[in-house]
């Protein structure tokens, strides 16, 4: 049976007809000279100017609002501001987890992770996890968080990704930390 260690030899044979030839080199040189020419041309950037105008308008509106509220208010009426909202970093699902509410963390069929690590693991997810578009692979593991109220938060995991409810996050640091505790 051929082994991964033989990949170099296998590639030399399987892809020996796939080489970087002179025509590819000429395309590269042409593309490079074209991109250098483009750098010297003055560029008209209407989108940037439009963004600058909108930004100035927003600043003016904000400034006016701080002097005099734009929406009329009736004496005795309280302005209510809705709480929550989407975390701009896109990690709101992890930000909602309080480690004090966790009674157990399990990875696949392994034993429960000790509670001294909950803070570490959740902190890493809250600070480092970023939304990703990676598709769910055929084989994944399961990360289960057992909560005080009896509920469970279950994520499918495939290093370095976590998946839940059609969303995906990437967090290499979380899996690196796990490797330190799982044999």
């Amino acid at each position: 049976m051929i082994k991964p260690e033989e990949l170099r030899t296998a590639t030399e044979k399987a892809l020996s007809g796939l080489t970087a030839d002179e025509s590819l080199k000429q395309k590269i040189l042409l593309k490079a000279s074209e991109s250098e020419q483009k750098e010297h041309e003055p560029v008209y950037r209407p989108v940037l100017k439009l963004c600058a105008i909108v930004g100035v308008l927003l600043l003016m509106v904000t400034g006016l609002n701080s002097i005099r509220p734009l929406s009329p208010s009736v004496p005795g009426e309280m302005t209510v501001f809705a709480a929550g909202g989407k975390d701009s970093s896109g990690t709101s699902i992890f930000a909602q987890i309080d480690t004090a509410d966790i009674t157990g963390i399990k990875i696949g069929n392994n034993e429960m992770i000790t509670d001294s690590l909950y803070d570490d693991l959740i902190r890493i997810l809250q600070s480092e996890a970023k939304e990703s578009e990676a598709e769910v692979p055929a084989e994944t593991g399961l990360l289960t968080l057992y909560m005080k109220d009896g509920t469970e938060k279950v994520f499918e995991i495939s290093d370095p990704y976590l998946y839940k409810d059609g969303k995906c996050w990437i967090c290499s640091g979380f899996f690196s930390r796990l490797q330190g505790i799982n044999p």
Partner: protein, 175 residues
């Protein structure tokens, strides 16, 4: 020691010209990109982008580290293209991996084809480490630096990729 890469067609003492870098590494960049994307045209586009970036950015490359830089840029570009086309892959399916053997090798390389195809079928994060480790000969520390991930993650991915490959290749043998 850092050397300025001389990208004029001639070379000064101690520096590699664009011609030399192309001759030494362009085929490796092309084949790694092809493994990643499974499409020859896209692999050639990536190779073009990498060497155009080399010419236009003119980076300062450490001696002996030119290949690592080129492959790092290539893998970054492959990753961008892979992600941007993931919907197509989900809907249309992954394209078949095609071999390009020399004329006298056709019909004599079933094992090599099995291994190459098995590597191509790996998920991107496993494919990257396998190509850099087994095909290009970088060590774990170098790979971790190129991909900006922990060494433990590289080792873990290599181990899991090896298991997957051996399972697939064993399955092929038994057919």
């Amino acid at each position: 020691m850092s050397l300025q890469t001389d990208l004029s067609s001639g070379s000064s003492s101690g520096s590699l010209s664009f011609d030399q870098l192309y001759e030494l590494y362009a085929t490796d960049v092309l084949r790694v990109s092809y493994y990643y994307l499974g499409n020859r045209e896209m692999a050639e586009d990536v190779t073009q982008d990498v060497f155009v970036k080399l010419i236009t950015n003119n980076p300062v490359l450490e001696e002996g580290r030119e290949k690592a830089w080129l492959l790092k840029v290539a893998l970054n570009r492959c990753r961008d293209l892979w992600r941007s086309s993931w919907i197509k892959k989900v809907v249309l399916g992954h394209p078949g991996f095609e071999c390009f053997p020399a004329p006298d090798e056709i019909g004599q390389m079933a094992d090599q084809y099995s291994l190459a195809e098995a590597v191509n079928r790996l998920k991107p994060e496993f494919k990257e480490v396998v190509l850099l480790f087994y095909y290009q000969g970088f060590n774990v520390t170098e790979i971790a630096d190129m991909l900006q991930i922990a060494e433990g993650t590289v080792s873990s991915r290599l181990s899991r990729a090896r298991d997957k490959l051996q399972k697939e290749l064993k399955g092929d043998d038994q057919q």
